[in-house]
Symmetry: C3
């Protein structure tokens, strides 16, 4: 088990984790599992052509309905919670020749939806 | 492999699975995989502050467009199917010191979207 | 590690992968992990009653907002990227008695959102 700590710098932000994870890869592992210990950020994969990060963040935000939420501390956080639960807190990626076996344009991303915050990502190889 | 059986009691409901899964944890396991054998419920993680369950269910429902669906038995079920496929039937969570290694406010949840029903969740440790 | 290659034939299409994966299952494996090496398709599970594939594709498309996207090559691809990142590039399914341990109506699906294309799915058993 290893941990990546990320200090996000914006309220909404896409962070490319690919190179950091590749630098941690265990020899002989077949799969890499990532998990965020948080409820207002998520992990997935995506194409990160210039501008695509902003496109994704705008779309995620627009998709979540702005209802009269009940959340006791801050109802304004609810859309970030909902988008995080849908995108999901985890992803598992195969490993080949000592690197994440991604598609040509595919990157592993952290989707920050309520930053800036300190984020902890747990990595397990199997 | 172990199985959790849950009888949901409402049409739409969020059920916190965290304590039940923690009570099943295998000594020495690094990862816990959950899978629902169903097409109208899903598993993910979320903050469960009071009212947040209702917030999430309303938002999931509002997000899914109400189109003229073709489903042969009951077109009214289609939004539950679609939300389930998007949230996803599985999640993998790391284990630390004999417990699910979740964030402070993070819980593992079953999202029931077409209850009340008997739900079966398959748990594997690795 | 094994690979499934699929030539999709439509721009948007749901392809049932269940039988192909069952034919590859390793003896003694407990879990099957699928991963798509792409950013405009995804894998999940769903009920595939007749017409449900079209229902899902229409709903996915309708859900993604049509904003003024920045993507440098083809902004029209952005909704396919976003839906793929949300549905997700991977799913893990338990194995029982030499077959995927799915629910009665549950199938493993590839969601093609920008075809027709050659798609590569990486399969790992553990």
């Amino acid at each position: 088990m290893q941990t990546i700590n990320i200090s996000t710098t914006k309220n909404k932000e896409i962070i490319d984790l690919t190179d950091r994870i590749n630098s941690l890869l265990s020899k002989g592992a077949k799969l890499c599992h990532l998990f965020v210990k948080h409820t207002t950020c998520a992990v997935t994969t995506a194409d990160l052509d210039p501008g695509t990060d902003k496109d994704m963040l705008e779309a995620f935000w627009e998709m979540i309905p702005k209802l009269n939420y009940r959340h006791p501390h801050n109802p304004a956080h609810v859309p970030a919670h909902i988008a995080s639960s849908i995108i999901g807190p985890d992803v598992t990626i195969p490993i080949k020749d000592g690197e994440l076996d991604l598609g040509t344009w595919q990157r592993v991303i952290l989707v920050e939806l309520d930053g800036p915050r300190e984020r902890e990502i747990i990595i397990n190889f199997s």
